[in-house]
């Protein structure tokens, strides 16, 4: 980055709003990791995550004038990404994909694998990937990316109580997946 360059997102957004594709590419390079990371963990499928990441940035380009700075640009991108993931789940193709990883199938997978002795980052990632969609969404948004229950609920279009319940459920399932004792 050039010397003396300060907070790039604000300037880049302003320039991108004026049609500067180069500025938007810089925004892409700054934020693609977080967007892809969120899409990958919410879908559990790298190929879908790539498509959804592209969809997110294309939607963001179209919607730039609507970004008013009330949240960080990263958070705004995440909102668009979450919408893209949820929209894909609702689509006929997405429904087929969801049905292949339905809760029953995933639970059977939990029972088949041996528990892990130590929770390595890979174990945690695998445990999250094995969660059913609702529980996985909240663990990704709240657990990994640090959104509050209220923020996550708003992004997912569910009640705050539902988020908390899904988180509670996710903890149980992850502990079972990783072989730890169930909480009573």
């Amino acid at each position: 980055m050039p010397a003396g360059r300060v907070d790039s997102s604000a300037e880049l957004v302003m320039r991108a709003c004026r049609g500067d594709v180069g500025a938007f590419e810089d925004l892409y390079r700054q934020h693609v990791g977080r967007v892809y990371g969120l899409c990958l963990r919410m879908t559990g499928q790298p190929e879908s995550a790539e498509d959804l990441t592209q969809d997110t940035f294309v939607s963001a380009w179209r919607s730039l004038p609507g970004y008013e700075g009330r949240s960080s640009f990263s958070t705004w991108l995440h909102r668009i990404a979450v919408n893209a993931v949820l929209a894909k789940r609702r689509s006929p193709q997405g429904r087929n994909e969801v049905s292949m990883t339905d809760e029953l199938g995933e639970q059977m997978e939990f029972e088949a694998d041996a528990p892990m002795d130590e929770a390595t980052p890979i174990d945690v990632e695998r445990a999250i990937a094995g969660l059913p969609p609702g529980a996985r969404d909240i663990v990704v948004l709240h657990g990994i990316y640090g959104y509050s229950h209220e923020e996550a609920a708003e992004m997912l279009g569910v009640a705050v109580g539902t988020c908390k319940a899904q988180l509670h459920r996710a903890r149980h399932l992850m502990r079972a997946r990783m072989g730890e004792e169930r909480a009573t």
Partner: protein, 197 residues
Amino acid sequence: MNTIPFGPRNPPEDPLLAKAAELPKDVAPPHDLWPGIAARLGEVEKPAARPFRWPLALAAGVLVASVSALLTWSLVRAPEGPVPSTQVAKTTPEPVPTDIVPVKYGPNSGLSAKDFGARDELLRQFRGRFASLKPETRAAIAKNLAIMQTAADEIDAALAKDPASGMLKGMLVGTYKQELQLYSTVVTAGDGLTRRI
């Protein structure tokens, strides 16, 4: 309004969630996605010409801090060509639906064409009202229909494994009834004239 002191007990900090928080936020995609994005940018409308609006105080701070950096940056990186003229257009981060997709019930639902015939008439009236509701109301309705769709899909998948389950069949019928009730509420709302002779 009474305040009912409900609410789950806040659980102590969970070690699993703490581990999740330690996971890397950024995950690089296997390959560069920019070329695909750039190709699609050429197909969509460019951002509107209206000035980028930023909260006033923040805008002032950004301006003061970034003037010199902007000058430096413009010297380092050549612009991508003349700034194209743009059209004024209303865009929002989340498009407001102008129509809805009724819930689709799977092959295990047990609902018949006759059942859906009753819904069709209601939908016809509902769509006439839906488009005229406030944007936030339309968005809320669309979101909740999506939730009902997810529910119908989950129940149908469960029915495939346990087709005799009375519980599941009851839930599916309940979901369908709630869908109809939603349409009905919108259709009859604020419509005093329908009660004239």
